[in-house]
């Protein structure tokens, strides 16, 4: 059996009696890009910091490629980008990248230079003169240049402009293609939808679900717009809501659309359109009730 690139088992963390993360189980395989979603304060950063060994778990274990999180071996295998990057203001971008990559132990100097060009970073500027996005670029370049087997990214594009966000996406896809495992915490759901094979959703410190994006979609309602005089569909299994349109109906279906399609087979349908739920809608379906409480 292959050792997961990243593994959390029963991972929990309490701060002064308040549970920040509770019994979290998660695995990320080599070459896999996993999105880590949740509202603010859900426990995403706490989980990542336990995987880095920066926080000591109250319960459970975290490991990187079979090594205890925070151990020398684990540190050598992981690279990290924080959401709000704080660096030494007097160092230049080039000096900071050199420091961070050197501390990691190994890095690809050619790839580093390529990344500097792709992210359009001026490395001669001192960190104190960088915008938030440029500081983010420095951290991203340093992390990616290490070619670490595991990348832990905590809202890494929160300061990047759309062009740089595209560059970031390319780099993450390339990293996954090279076999690097990526755990990506992000609020940009389109980004997660584009990059990630699986998504882990956390709420109030508890992991709600880990599944592929397609599998997630099956969990939420799908809308069908049907043109034609199809009659009453409200009694069909799975149909939650029917809304009349000028030339047909809009039907919201929960679960499998099979019964609806079977019912439509015998009716005069001139057109049928479906719209899959976006990750944003999936996200809202998971978290909206909690946010209203």
């Amino acid at each position: 059996m292959t050792t997961p690139a990243l593994q959390a088992h029963g991972l929990g963390k309490s701060f002064r009696g308040v549970d920040a993360v509770v019994s979290l189980d998660l695995e990320v395989a080599e070459g896999e890009v996993v999105g880590f979603l949740g509202p603010n304060g859900a426990g995403k950063s706490t989980t990542l910091r336990m995987l880095l060994g920066l926080l000591r778990p109250t319960t459970g274990t975290a490991s990187i490629r079979g090594h205890r999180a925070g151990s020398r071996e684990a540190r050598a295998d992981v690279a990290y980008v924080a959401g709000d990057v704080a660096l030494w203001p007097q160092l230049t971008g080039a000096e900071t990248i050199e420091l961070l990559t050197s501390l990691h132990g190994s890095y690809d100097a050619g790839y580093r230079d390529e990344l500097v060009a792709r992210f359009d970073l001026d490395p001669s500027r001192r960190v104190r003169s960088y915008s938030r996005g440029n500081r983010q670029k420095v951290a991203l370049i340093a992390a990616l240049a290490t070619r670490a087997p595991v990348l832990l990214l905590d809202e890494p594009t929160s300061g990047l402009d759309p062009l740089m966000e595209l560059v970031f996406r390319e780099c993450v896809l390339e990293a996954g293609g090279r076999g690097q495992a990526v755990l990506l915490s992000s609020h940009l759901l389109a980004e997660v939808e584009h990059l990630c094979q699986r998504v882990a959703m956390i709420r109030q410190g508890r992991l709600m679900r880990v599944a592929g994006v397609e599998e997630m979609r099956a969990l939420v309602d799908v809308e069908f717009e049907i043109t034609g005089d199809v009659g009453d569909l409200s009694g069909v299994a799975g149909v939650e809501e029917v809304t009349s349109l000028v030339d047909g109906v809009r039907v919201r279906v929960h679960g499998s659309p099979g019964p609806l399609l079977a019912a439509l087979a015998t009716r005069p349908v001139s057109a049928l359109r479906t719209r899959e739920a976006s990750l944003e809608e999936i996200f809202l379906s998971f978290y909206a009730p909690a946010s209203t409480t």
């Binding site: 910091r49 880095l52 060994g53 920066l54 926080l55 000591r56 020398r72 540190r75 992981v78 690279a79 990290y80 980008v81 924080a82 709000d84 990057v85 704080a86 660096l87 030494w88 203001p89 007097q90 230049t92 080039a94 000096e95 050199e98 420091l99 961070l100 050197s102 501390l103 990691h104 132990g105 001026d122 490395p123 001669s124 500027r125 001192r126 104190r128 003169s129 951290a139 340093a142 832990l152």
Partner: protein
């Protein structure tokens, strides 16, 4: 917000002022009071001594003695403190982007500036009140105590004014602080020249450090100088406010260049980076210690020669427990003990950098790659190396000063003196490391206060005939005057071992705790 940034150091400064002033009042009595002082007045009126410590008119009361003994250097230290507080709460807030947020809110940066000024004004008043309280507790004249306390408040306010203007014209905060320090140093040197050179005493009228001397508390009372001490800060605050309203947030007319050629040499290891990180501060300290060392070295010959002409003075020194000052090696040995306090404060601040970096959020990324143990050990060892370099610089310049002053001093004596000054360094560095991982927010302020207090206790315990247990906790109690004495091997080993133990505990705590700050 601004008050939160200044309240801790203001509280500590106030406590140190009350305690320190009270202790100096006590040493006056223990030194024979007015009669004892009369015996040494000719020495104190030596131009070199007046240049260093200020003009001596009369030491007929303990209050006058406090004003002379602490006055010049205390005023400089407090003005520098005020300036550093000012650059911190204004330019520092701009550097980290706080004022970007404030600027868009209805009150705007103008209100933030006014609130900062108010907080700094409170700090100045508290410092002045603490000084006056220390004097009153020592049974000194209330009127003179208040007059001198007001002068101290004015000096702090002046430092604040200089810092505020520097923060408007220079960026980042470090540059603004340096500009303010240069201005205050020039003002102080003007006072040194005015007091030290004959015929230029009128120069005291152009420097705030001369104004507080001219105030004449406990002597000839000239409260009119208070007008300058308070009017100039008001003008400076007004100028800073005007400059601030005319520029963009975060900008400055004289900002340090934002681009630089990369210097990668010391960035490939934790240890290399630790050394590099401490290099700028070490160089600044080396410059300051070199100046003090060469001046004190130069004065050594005349001060020692005077002592031999006056048996009463020698007797007084013996009573104070500093009889070693009657020989050149002994004078240098005593000087090295004073330098040891500076080295201890430096070491504490340099190891506490770990906590400061953690609070700023800079350690998250590096500690996800580097070992925490290695990081904190590198902070300690690089601090020790920097302190050794500072001691070496001090030794060389003392030796040079002694030679320039016409005395002789062997290299062996200088080496022994600076090695003795280093004995407390591992302890202070270890304490700083431990404080930075246990209580990073107050590590420097509280640690510095404890070191300064334990030094003062060790110095005044003997002349005040305090019981042994009072000074037993002070590391300086166990330092001998080397030369002429030989270092106590057991005491040296114990002090270094305590420092190593502090560091070991810091390593264990840092390795086991969460990396949250």
């Amino acid at each position: 917000m601004a008050w939160r940034q200044v309240r801790t150091s203001t509280s500590v400064v106030a406590l140190v002022l009350v305690g320190g002033v009270r202790a100096i009042v006590a040493t006056y009595g223990a030194s024979g009071g007015a009669r004892g002082m009369r015996a040494i007045l000719p020495l104190l009126r030596n131009p070199a001594v007046e240049a260093l410590d200020g003009r001596v008119t009369t030491l007929a009361t303990a209050g006058a003695y406090v004003q002379w003994k602490m006055g010049a250097w205390l005023a400089l230290a407090l003005a520098a403190w005020g300036a550093l507080l000012a650059t911190r709460v204004t330019r520092g807030a701009e550097d980290v982007g706080t004022w970007d947020l404030i600027g868009v809110a209805p009150p705007g940066t103008r209100r933030a500036f006014n609130v900062s000024v108010a907080a700094l004004a409170v700090a100045a008043v508290v410092a002045g009140a603490a000084t006056a309280l220390g004097l009153v507790l020592g049974a000194q004249s209330l009127l003179d105590s208040v007059l001198y306390g007001a002068g101290i408040a004015g000096v702090v306010a002046l430092g604040v004014g200089v810092g505020l203007v520097a923060a408007q014209v220079s960026a980042p905060r470090r540059s603004a602080s340096q500009v303010a320090m240069v201005v205050l140093t020039v003002a102080f040197l003007t006072r040194v020249v005015a007091d030290g050179a004959r015929g230029v005493g009128s120069l005291r009228a152009v420097t705030p450090f001369g104004w507080i001397e001219n105030l004449g508390a406990f002597q000839n009372r000239e409260p009119g100088w208070l007008i300058l001490l308070f009017a100039v800060p008001v003008v400076l605050v007004g100028a800073a406010r005007r400059l601030q309203s005319r520029r963009d947030v975060g900008m400055a007319p004289f900002a340090r260049a934002d681009t630089s050629r990369a210097h990668l040499a010391a960035l490939h290891s934790v240890g290399g980076f630790a050394l590099r990180q401490r290099r700028p501060v070490t160089l600044t300290w080396a410059g300051g210690l070199a100046v003090v060392a060469v001046v004190m070295g130069y004065l050594t010959h005349s001060l020692v020669a005077f002592a031999h002409t006056d048996p009463a003075y020698v007797a007084l020194l013996m009573r104070w427990g500093i009889g070693a000052l009657v020989s050149v090696p002994g004078f240098v040995g005593e000087l090295a003990i004073s330098v040891s306090l500076a080295l201890a404060l430096f070491s504490l601040a340099m190891t506490a950098v770990v906590g400061a970096d953690g609070l700023a959020g800079r350690l998250d990324v590096v500690l996800s790659a580097a070992s925490r143990t290695r990081w904190i050990l590198a902070a300690w060892t690089s601090t020790l190396l920097a302190a050794v370099a500072l001691a070496a610089v001090t030794g060389v310049f003392v030796w040079l000063g002694v030679l320039l002053g016409g005395a002789r001093l062997s290299a062996g004596h200088v080496t022994a003196a600076v090695l003795n000054a280093l004995v407390v360094v591992p302890l202070a560095a270890g304490f700083g490391a431990l404080a930075s991982v246990v209580a990073p927010r107050v590590a420097v302020v509280v640690g510095s206060a404890l070191l300064a207090l334990s030094y003062v206790v060790a110095v005044v315990a003997a002349p005040l005939h305090w019981p042994g247990w009072v000074s037993a906790a002070s590391p300086w109690r166990y330092l001998r005057v080397v030369p002429p004495a030989r270092a106590g091997v057991t005491a040296t080993i114990v002090l270094v071992a305590i420092g190593v133990a502090f560091e070991a505990v810091a390593v264990v705590v840092f390795a086991r705790r969460d990396a949250t700050w």
